[in-house]
């Protein structure tokens, strides 16, 4: 049963078709890889799913419910979390506070009750704190809790983003290039981490990634975009043999062993 259905999604930037009638499903409990050469429309697709940019045509349903009519800030509370390709943390907040902002969409206290610090607000705050702390431990960031998010290594900040995205207890997690800037061992750890997120936290994952080794290793299904069009969809083994995909990645060897070099 698909948790996410994308139908005929089209985005134009001026005369350029960033996405051209793209359709695919993401089944609950799967890890789906979304790949394609640079400029294929992967991040544009993510931005449509998180309602940060409006599509020109098409329909997106989450759990059967159309989401394209909702404002961006309602997406988190529906159960869709995301990370950003080029890091979008809050640099002046600490690592812990960054993750605590991630719980925002799941909590309710308002300006007045915050200012008065009503008893239920203190309890809510304690819950937020506990949830963020648990996620920092899960992602091995506990020691950095009180460190400002600015000035930490890129790979660490990517993990902070992952923790922040998980803080909203998403059922679908959109991860944008988590492996960039990571070395070989770190990618292996990341693969394990993505599986753990899916298996023990019950989170469905949609993964945009250039690191073919990682995508082919963890994905149940791979969707391939090229110049805004979907050119292939299927299990990793099939997609790697698809002649259209090979042509799109001309010169790039898609086999797992080569990709993981």
């Amino acid at each position: 049963m698909p948790i996410l259905t994308v139908r005929d999604l089209t985005v134009r930037f001026g005369g350029i078709l960033a996405l051209d009638s793209v359709s695919f499903d993401v089944d609950a409990g799967q890890i789906v890889g979304l790949i394609g050469p640079n400029g294929a429309g992967k991040t544009t697709l993510f931005n449509c799913l998180s309602r940060l940019s409006p599509p020109d045509e098409g329909d997106v349903r989450f759990d059967g419910r159309p989401i394209l009519g909702l404002p961006a800030h309602r997406i988190a509370e529906l159960g869709i979390g995301r990370t950003f390709q080029n890091l979008a943390l809050f640099p002046t907040l600490t690592v812990l506070q960054n993750v605590m902002v991630g719980v925002h969409g799941r909590t309710r206290s308002d300006v007045l009750s915050n200012a008065l610090r009503l008893p239920w607000v203190s309890r809510e705050e304690a819950t937020i704190h506990a949830r963020a702390t648990e996620l920092l431990r899960f992602l091995d960031l506990g020691a950095l809790a009180d460190h400002p998010a600015a000035g930490l290594p890129f790979g660490t900040l990517k993990r902070v983003e992952l923790a922040r995205a998980l803080a909203s207890s998403p059922r679908l997690l959109l991860v944008d290039e988590p492996a960039s800037g990571l070395n070989h061992e770190e990618v292996a750890t990341l693969a394990k981490l993505l599986r753990t997120i899916r298996d023990s936290r019950g989170v469905t994952v949609l993964l945009v990634e250039h690191h073919m080794g990682l995508v082919m290793q963890v994905s149940d299904k791979v969707v391939v975009l090229d110049f805004g069009r979907k050119i292939a969809e299927g299990p990793p083994v099939d997609v790697q043999k698809n002649p259209d995909v090979i042509r799109a990645y001309l010169g790039t060897d898609l086999r797992v062993d080569a990709g993981a070099r």
Binding site: H73, I75, A76, H104, I128
Partner: protein, 323 residues
């Protein structure tokens, strides 16, 4: 809890204790100046919530200060309302006006918002003169200083000082609560990265308007208190220079810092006077030199520099980073 944290927690009660002792140590004139410091501190905290924490620059907070002051003056002058009630009314009115102003301001960023608020500051004195029937035109409205309650044995100046101090404490506690909770994190998140804040579920438009409203409410309450303290309101007291002075106050005091509002208030109250004492001929040149020296020596404002010094001290003392 480390010793350094323990000391930090003692700062607020100690400050209040000293503030309570001042009326019995200072002359009436000096005390009036400290009443003014308290009033400025409230206005600066309001502006700091907007500009320091939320990143929306306002060059027009003098307008909300004026709105608060005139609300109090008109309510007392025209309707004989007890002065105590006029303070919350001024706050609520400015909350509403600030919130509504915040909605169109959503379309403006950075310097463009600064200009729009600047326009507000330019317009307000003349608007006040225009509604002469209510505002008394250029002549303004003269009030009488509130009488202290009988039996306390306080002079009117002492009483006003304590009223102001009480409002300062309440509004600073509410502000601190607001800023350290879910709302405060959202306010800062919007400043740091508005798109990511949206993606985390923060309703950016609503929070920015609300922040504008809360900020205006603080500044309006300060204006109301100033009308009571000075016992007089006139349009020319709320000129553009006042708005700029507020901005100077939060930058010198420390952006995005609660205590910075108090340091900034001390600066904008006392440094012009010192400048006057140093040179009667060119006080603003002296003031300018003070400004440049402060910005050069303390680029993060007084509060930021003190925090830095404190952290170093705590580290040297070996008491830091244990909690």
């Amino acid at each position: 809890m480390s010793r350094a944290q323990g000391w930090r927690r003692a700062i607020a009660p100690a400050t209040i204790a000293i503030a309570c002792a001042l009326p019995f140590l200072l002359s009436n004139f000096r005390l009036f100046q400290f009443t003014q410091v308290g009033i400025y501190a409230i206005a600066l905290l309001g502006l700091n919530i907007l500009t320091g924490y939320n990143g929306q620059i306002s060059l027009g907070h003098g307008a909300f200060y004026a709105l608060g002051a005139y609300t109090t003056a008109i309510m007392i002058d025209k309707w004989n309302v007890a002065y105590g009630w006029t303070i919350p009314v001024a706050g609520l009115l400015c909350l509403a006006v600030g919130f509504l102003f915040g909605i169109p301001a959503l379309r403006l960023e950075g310097l463009y918002l600064a200009l729009a608020t600047f326009a507000l500051a330019l317009a307000v004195p003349q608007i006040l003169k225009y509604f002469e029937h209510w505002t008394g035109g250029s002549q303004g409205i003269v009030l009488s200083k509130p009488d202290p309650p009988r039996g306390l044995g306080l002079s009117p100046d002492q009483w006003l000082y304590f009223v102001t101090l009480g409002v300062v404490v309440v509004l600073f506690v509410l502000g601190a609560n607001l800023l350290r909770g879910r709302t405060g994190r959202a306010i800062v998140a919007i400043r740091d990265n508005p798109i990511a804040a949206q993606a985390m579920g923060v309703n950016g438009a609503l929070y920015k308007s609300l922040t504008f409203g809360v900020s205006a409410a603080y500044t309006g309450v300060a204006g109301a208190l100033s009308a009571l303290a000075i016992a007089f309101v006139a349009p020319d007291a709320f000129n553009v220079f006042l708005s700029i002075t507020f901005l100077v106050g939060i930058v010198i005091g420390g952006l995005a810092s609660i205590s910075g509002a108090i340091f900034g208030a001390l600066f904008i109250q006392f440094v012009p006077n010192w400048a006057q004492e140093i040179s009667k001929a060119a006080p603003w040149a002296i003031y300018g030199i003070f400004l440049i020296v402060f910005m050069y020596v303390m680029p993060r404002g007084i509060a930021g520099s003190l925090r830095l010094a404190w952290t170093r001290l705590a580290r040297v003392g070996g008491t830091g980073r244990t909690g």
